[in-house]
């Protein structure tokens, strides 16, 4: 074991000037803009849903999209704050209100449609392209966010990874709803909550392992 004075000498010797991180809000904004560009590109490639004009007049749909997007944005702000040691860990609660609104609209839509159509209303086959869209849209977003937050692996890795996962899920799903006609069935609930849950789970695993790997 090297002695502590030796370690200090070693660290001092390799202490190059570093570029300070920009404020968390600025970095969150940057990520949201990059995310929006990527998702717009995916949307342009796939094409918006044909009934979008009609759907935009449906308040539940609008609230759902708006709350998902807001959850994504607030979770991003939260993640960039939580990842900095001297910021409060309570920032992680910031996306909670919009997250609850988002999840409740999904549940509400699902319930009304379930009643109208009966159990036959779910068509699992439809959702395969959705999975591709989720993967296509969310993977680059998650990778970029991971690199922007990698310093968090030493401090609060789990909290950062969880909030970051919600950020990716919120932003991706809000965009997904604009170009997929899959709504108000059980599948939406599974997708929306499922995508969030899977990402949180992966995030938590990253938090434990990936974020912690290099020491």
């Amino acid at each position: 074991m090297t002695g502590t004075p030796d370690l200090i000498r070693q660290l001092t010797a390799e202490a190059e000037a570093v570029r300070r991180l920009r404020p968390p809000l600025v970095r969150a904004g940057l990520w949201v803009i990059i995310g929006a560009v990527i998702l717009t590109a995916v949307a342009t490639a796939i094409g918006l849903r044909p009934d979008l004009g009609l759907k935009l007049r449906d308040p539940v749909f609008v609230i759902e999209i708006a709350s998902a997007a807001l959850t994504g944005i607030t979770a991003a702000i939260a993640a960039f704050h939580v990842s900095i040691p001297d910021r409060s860990a309570r920032w992680a609660l910031l996306p909670l209100p919009t997250l609850l609104v988002w999840l409740s609209t999904v549940g509400y839509g699902c319930l009304t449609n379930w009643v109208a159509l009966g159990p036959g209303g779910t068509v699992p086959g439809l959702s395969i392209p959705c999975l591709e869209t989720i993967a296509l849209g969310s993977t680059p977003l998650a990778v970029i966010l991971y690199f922007m937050l990698r310093h968090a692996r030493f401090v609060r890795p789990l909290a950062t990874a969880s909030v970051a996962a919600v950020a990716v899920a919120g932003l991706t799903v809000s965009a997904l709803r604009l170009f997929h006609e899959l709504d108000a069935t059980v599948m939406v609930l599974i997708w929306n909550v499922g995508a969030g849950a899977v990402m949180t789970l992966v995030g938590a695993m990253f938090g434990r392992r990936g974020f912690l790997l290099p020491r």
């Binding site: 502590t4 000498r9 660290l11 300070r20 991180l21 040691p85 020491r215």
Partner: protein, 173 residues
């Protein structure tokens, strides 16, 4: 810290030296073993070094430092608890013979037999085992010392272990 971020090594060195006694006091509250305390202090210093770009000079340094230190210490204690839950200390009854020298003598005899066997290995295998296992060199270092390629060393080392195992195991029981 702000000056250290700009590359002022003297300021950085002074800062690290000044926070060490504080970190040591803090670590002593969490850990009892002196070595463990020193290990924890060094770990905190390494983390400070790795993420020094996250410090915002417009804000006080104390909370930034304290969060890192507390976080690393609580992680260490948690790891320690989960490790001690899995492991059981060696007790006298775990040894085949209760007096220590008896056990060691047997080990020494085994060691001598192993050395004898290494001596009769083919030259390349003998060299590989000596450099890689007995002198604990890395493949690269051993390649430099012996003039053999890394691949050749790897193969020779592997073959040597196989030969030794084959010779050793039948005598074992």
């Amino acid at each position: 810290m702000a000056r250290a971020q700009d590359g002022d090594r003297q300021a950085y060195s002074t800062l690290l030296e000044e926070i060490v006694p504080y970190l040591r006091r803090l670590a002593r509250r969490w850990l009892r073993d002196a070595d463990e305390v020193e290990d924890a202090v060094q770990d905190i210093l390494l983390v400070i070094h790795a993420i020094r770009h996250t410090y915002d000079p417009g804000r006080p340094f104390g909370p930034w430092l304290l969060t890192i230190a507390r976080r690393r210490l609580s992680d260490r204690v948690r790891r320690h608890i989960s490790r001690s839950a899995r492991e059981e200390p060696l007790k006298p009854e775990h040894e085949t013979l209760s007096t220590v020298p008896t056990n060691l003598a047997e080990e020494r005899a085994d060691g001598r037999r192993l050395h004898d066997m290494i001596e009769v290995l083919p030259p390349a295998q003998r060299l590989a085992i000596k450099l890689l296992k007995l002198r604990e060199m890395s493949l690269k270092e051993a390649a430099r010392e012996s003039g053999m390629s890394v691949a050749a060393l790897k193969t020779a080392g592997h073959r040597a272990l196989k030969t030794l195992r084959a010779k050793f195991v039948p005598h074992e029981d």
